[in-house]
Symmetry: C2
Subunit: 315 residues, 2 copies
């Protein structure tokens, strides 16, 4: 009976909504936009974040005058019900995800390392951005989108698609961004380039900072792989720190650590790879690493152009 | 290049859509209703089945004059793309599910033992029936539902909810059934009882037949558990075969085999349990087995009233 009373108290706590660890602009803003939608539907929801916002995300939040979500390290201490946005794999989520009930997921990634004990809401579509799906859900529920939320949602689509240049970008994402830009009263090209450039200010970043800006872990075969990505307008800005980067990558507890440095102006990437098996990296991308680096022409998407290829090479 | 050409040929093959092994009425009819929707959206889709239709399902197909889906044992021999309805767990799916790409899932169960290499459409909601979700998708896409498809969809909701008596049944399921019954021109109560009774003709069933009518496997902790369910209007019709049932259950390669015999008139069940650990079964349902049996008052739903309780007891 005491247990039941405690449970009732817990159920009255807020439902926490969050994106993945090392949050990018979509992870942060989809938590905000989905929490707003849930609140309109009567759910006591709060957007939180599993990491500090990037400079790109900070630019968007500042532009639309929205506060960054509260930072949390664990969730089971304050709620027993959560909703996930922009991720599902438990190793990319909060450390105590297995101690709470996942009520809903909105995502645009593969599904893996995810399971629940009970039925739930799960909405995934193979589009370029979580906020493209959330826009659809607003329309289905006939909920109006406030200007500042629309601006954050458009920012996420610009960010995830590198202003529509990524192969992950679909016609639905472009249409969604245009619709949201109208509500937010922004010019997509002008605002978009300013947003992306805000995320490429790498000069004052340490090697550890660079490796943590947008990093995700993936079990592949029997290997534990870390893939970090940074966007820049000059790839050399990153590789002047190559020695420091390699030292920091070797210190981490992964079999293989890959840093993808993406030039957002010419849409190519250079990868830096540390660990084993390097042969799988060379096979995955059909390149030969020189000084641990290789140019991947036309590669900008970790999800479509790095993870599947490496997963196959390691399986 | 040859590989690419082969791939293009494969991609022109039909997308196969199917429900779980040992299909019930929702598994069969949601494949039919989702395939019809996909075809209207331009996808070359075909509903198939992973097992013979039950007498209940046959009643519905016959009433609405729809042919049973083609039976398949494997899929990779004829397609490389599939869509799953009414299930996601691989052990409940086709044996070569790992050899094909899952493009979409529509389901109302927990998510477990499921993973993809690529992003996909996934639509799950915690409602009582897959067809309740599919009705929503027809409306979102503004596709009209033919009378016979509506009849099959209503049949699935009646079947999964035991005419709205199951705790899995939501207000959305009831509203969906009423809407579909109008299109199908049936009286829910009259047609519904006829449908359910068609599934309770157990007299000529062998023990093996009874155990296979609606059986699903679940990994729970380190145990492999099989849970079969049959509906009846007289529980004794099943237990006159108790010795045969136990012999057949012991022959199967599961740690624990539970048969749930549900009386659809009074909404109680009697379980028969064989294997180990029996103590977990007794703990899960707070009962003492006598002669391997126990009455579970008010239990009709495997999903809500059997699987979670047993999962917890075995974890």
């Amino acid at each position: 009976m005491l247990l039941m009373n405690l449970k009732e108290i817990f159920y009255m706590s807020n439902v926490l909504i969050f994106g993945h660890l090392n949050p990018d602009t979509d992870a942060i803003t989809s938590a905000i936009s989905f929490a707003y939608l849930q609140k309109q539907l009567g759910v006591e929801a709060e957007a939180v974040a599993l990491g500090n916002v990037s400079e790109e995300t900070a630019f968007a939040l500042n532009y639309f005058n929205v506060a960054a979500p509260r930072l949390v390290e664990t969730v089971a201490n304050e709620t027993n019900q959560v909703m996930l946005v922009d991720h599902n794999e438990f190793q990319q989520s909060v450390s105590d995800i297995r101690d709470v009930e996942v009520l809903a997921v909105v995502d645009h990634h593969r599904i893996a390392n995810f399971e629940t004990a009970n039925p739930l809401y799960y909405r995934a579509e193979p589009v370029g951005c979580t906020n493209t799906i959330i826009l659809k859900m607003y329309k289905e529920q006939q909920i109006a989108i406030p200007k500042e939320i629309a601006g954050l949602m458009a920012s996420a689509i610009i960010s995830d698609s590198l202003l529509f240049k990524s192969p992950t970008c679909t016609q639905e994402d472009i249409a969604a961004a245009k619709e949201l830009a109208t509500i937010a009263e922004i010019d997509l090209e002008t605002y978009g380039l300013d947003l992306l450039k805000a995320g490429t200010n790498l000069a004052d970043k340490s090697a550890a900072d660079l490796l943590n800006m947008d990093a995700k872990s993936f079990p592949m075969g029997d290997k534990n792989v870390r893939i970090a990505q940074v966007n820049t307008v000059d790839i050399n800005d990153v590789f002047v720190k190559q020695a420091d980067l390699e030292a920091a990558m070797k210190k981490e507890d992964f079999d293989l650590f890959i840093l993808v440095v993406t030039n957002i102006l010419d849409s190519d990437s250079v990868i830096l790879a540390v660990g084993e098996p390097i042969s799988a990296v060379e096979k995955a991308f059909d390149v030969t690493l020189e000084n641990n680096k290789a140019l991947l022409k036309g590669v900008v998407s970790r999800k479509k152009q790095v993870v599947p290829q490496l997963t196959e090479a390691l399986s």
